[in-house]
């Protein structure tokens, strides 16, 4: 069965790009969220194998959303998406339980490499 992923990003462009990458690699995108609050609700609904979480989002930040998800689902696997220059936020997220991260701009195979190994662990 295809692995399920939820994409969280405020930019539609980023979401569709990630969707394309995942679908090309045989993943099933079960949900897309455009802010942290939505991410928390949709996660509870779908409980996907993996979440990609943009780190900077309006309303609830990616970090807060991840922490909220993890407090209800400690096994959740969250991969942070960040841009260059957001290193300290990424590290905070890793300390808080993010499994890995990808840095924009990213290449398809890099993304798949990262999510595959997070799921394999």
């Amino acid at each position: 069965m295809a692995k399920q992923v939820m994409i969280v990003d405020d930019a539609l462009f980023m979401r569709s790009m990630l969707r394309d990458i995942f679908e090309a690699a045989g993943w099933q995108v079960v949900a897309e969220a455009e802010n942290g609050q939505q991410a928390v609700e949709l996660f509870a609904q779908h409980q996907p194998d993996l979440v990609t979480m943009d780190i900077v989002m309006p309303e609830m930040s990616g970090l807060d959303a991840m922490q909220k998800i993890l407090s209800d689902y400690p096994e959740a696997k969250v991969v942070m998406c960040s841009a260059l220059g957001q290193e300290s936020m990424v590290m905070e997220a890793i300390k808080a339980g993010a499994k890995d991260f990808i840095v924009k701009p990213f290449q398809d195979e890099q993304v798949i490499d990262v999510v595959d190994r997070v799921c394999a662990a």
Binding site: S82, L84, E87, S88, V90, M91, E92, I94, K95, K99, D100, F101, V103, D113, D116, R117, A120, A121
Partner: protein, 610 residues
């Protein structure tokens, strides 16, 4: 490949190539159309490229590749202009700095400027010292190097550090979590880890991180120093002749080149080259094995050196006068043999003085080589051993029957002294003259694959001869468990060990296979080969990847136990003829490990089946 082991050799070898390049450059500058010189430069650059690529030193490989390209152009043009000489010199300088980086354990410096053709005007400053090998203490040291291309090294190292914690306990890390969180930038993570996991497991589980340039297991500098101090006493290190080291470096260079050859032959699917490379490899490995055995050799002197002192002390306490001499102390033996021999030798000397020498006399150790054996004789000119007394005692102790005692030759009777139970602690000296602890001495000698013989003439003295092999069969084995048996496979026969889920097993015709590195690997069950009942189902299959009849197979075993150096004894005749067994070893805890020879085991099945 354990890169750390080869790093130094790579450095030395690459350094030589660089030196030659510098020499050739001078020659070519003087004579720009010197095509031999250009060819030589090209070859040197090519060698460095091959080695660096094999070792995963990307920047070094890129620079040498670029030099190679430019020298190719020069070849085509038939000359090297002065601008190009400058460019080549800059490249050689840069390579030198890169080797320095590698030697210091730093990440290689950026080479983009050079590759992009920008001339480096400013002096190449060495990157500040950040040597990372100073975490000393217990546990395993793991050093991870990020590739140049990794975008966010800080968070990347933090992820890796978190991952390392899954192997066990992170005792120490450099940079530490705090340092990383505070924004310290590094491309190298050094972790001291308390873990059950083997280096191979750690390596395998980190292999999915393509961001990593290298996964290394360095030895801490401090730890090495401590080991050196300890070794003075315990003899766990050996001093090695620099000539021998040079030979190692040369061999390693050849091996690296060979590996590169094989890699490219495999890439091109050129079977002829592949075969050539393999026979080359066979030759190199054999040579290497020979050299390694050479390193293990130490002179007999290393254990006889302390004897004169012991003799003097014994003389003083017994009031005897003994002249002691050692002949042939420079004869070399495997250090494992010498270690085992030290106590027995002291014991024989003590016996000679306590029970052989009456008031004054001489005790002599003589050693010489006879083909593949070393003979060591301990002789005294004391009272000797009376075979009649030995006969009597042996009968008393039920070692021989009176009838036997009558027909036995004196010489054979003397050997009885070494029988366990011939003498016991409570009746120490006079009856036998020599029996005390001789069974222990004989056992030690036999354990090493040697022979002990006693010769004595009453009133003239006693001579104990040891015949020893030059080197012992000490080999490193992979210990495995199968159907309750502890078995060993020589590590040289093991290509890889893998643990897989039974779900990964597929069928191909009648054969069970798994896919490993994109190859279908047939599976063989060791239990089935050994005609043992099937094992209980498990959610983890342990495999030893090895080669039989020139074909890679996965041997399914019950459990991987570990690796160990063992002293291999052949089974006594006629059991040494048992197919599929190549001897055994007694482990430190008294367990016996049998060495299996898979190929002959399967041959056995083949012939039986046919």
């Amino acid at each position: 490949m354990d890169i750390e082991k080869y790093r130094k050799m790579f450095l030395s070898e690459a350094g030589e190539h660089l030196e030659k390049m510098a020499e050739q450059l001078v020659a070519v500058e003087a004579d720009p159309q010197n095509s031999d010189g250009i060819d030589a430069l090209f070859r040197e650059a090519h060698s460095i490229k091959g080695m660096a690529a094999t070792m995963g030193y990307d920047a070094t490989a890129r620079v040498s590749h670029r030099l190679e390209d430019e020298l190719q152009n020069c070849r085509e043009q038939g000359e090297v202009d002065s601008e190009m000489i400058d460019r080549l010199l800059t490249g050689v300088d840069l390579l030198e700095s890169l080797l320095e980086d590698i030697s210091e354990g730093r990440a290689e410096r950026s080479v983009d400027d050079f590759i992009n053709g920008v001339m480096l005007v400013e002096e190449l400053e060495p990157i500040p010292e950040e040597d990372s090998c100073d975490l000393a203490g217990e546990g395993v040291l793991v050093r991870l190097r990020l590739a140049d291309s990794v975008a966010a090294p800080g968070p990347r190292l933090l992820v890796l550090l978190t991952r390392m914690a899954e192997f066990g306990t992170v005792l120490e890390a450099k940079p530490s979590e705090e340092q990383l969180l505070q924004g310290e930038i590094s491309r190298i993570l050094l972790v001291r880890l308390a873990t059950e996991a083997s280096q191979e497991e750690i390596r395998q589980r980190l292999q999915c991180y393509r961001e990593l340039n290298a996964i290394e297991f360095p030895v801490a500098v401090l730890e090495k120093d401590q080991q050196r101090k300890v070794s003075r006493k315990s003899g766990t290190t050996v001093r090695v002749d620099t000539d021998l080291l040079d030979r190692f470096i040369n061999l390693t260079g050849e091996l690296l080149t060979n590996r590169y050859q094989l890699q490219s032959a495999a890439g091109e699917r050129n079977w002829r080259e592949m075969n050539e490379g393999l026979s080359q490899l066979a030759r190199l490995v054999k040579n290497l094995h020979h050299q390694v055995l050479q390193v293990r050799m130490m002179p007999l002197e290393s254990i006889t050196g302390r004897l004169p002192r012991a003799v003097r002390d014994l003389c003083r306490s017994s009031g005897k006068e003994v002249e002691f001499s050692v002949e042939g102390a420079s004869i070399e033996l495997d250090r494992a043999i010498l270690e085992e021999l030290a106590d027995p030798l002291t014991h024989m000397i003590r016996n000679a003085i306590d029970h052989g020498i009456e008031q004054t006399g001489s005790v002599q150790i003589k050693s010489w080589r006879e083909r593949d054996q070393v003979l060591i004789q301990v002789a005294d000119d004391g009272r000797g051993i009376d075979p009649e007394k030995v006969r009597k005692r042996a009968i008393e102790r039920n070692l021989i029957s009176p009838a036997q005692a009558q027909v036995m030759r004196d010489y054979d009777v003397l050997q009885l002294i070494c029988q366990p139970g011939f003498s016991t602690a409570e009746q120490v000296t006079e009856t036998s003259g020599r029996g005390v602890g001789m069974d222990v001495v004989k056992t030690s000698v036999e354990k090493l694959g040697g022979v002990l013989l006693i010769d004595s003439t009453p009133g003239e003295g006693t001579r104990i001869s040891l015949k020893l092999p030059l080197s012992v069969a000490i080999i490193r084995v992979l210990m495995i468990e199968c159907a309750g048996c502890l078995l060993g496979i020589p590590i040289t026969r093991v290509l890889q060990t893998v643990e897989i889920s039974p779900k990964e097993v597929q069928t191909s015709g009648k054969q069970l296979v798994i896919s490993l590195h994109g190859e279908l690997l047939p599976l063989l069950s060791l239990r089935k080969i050994l005609r043992q009942p099937k094992g209980p189902a498990s959610n983890l299959l342990s495999l030893v990847v090895t080669e039989v009849f020139g074909r890679k197979v996965g041997l399914v075993i019950d459990r991987l136990v570990g690796q160990q150096e063992v002293f291999v004894q052949p089974l006594p005749s006629p059991f040494d003829r048992l197919r599929g067994n190549s001897g055994g070893a007694i482990l430190g805890d008294g367990r016996i490990l049998f060495l299996i020879d898979l190929q002959s085991m399967l041959e056995k099945r083949r012939t039986k089946g046919s």
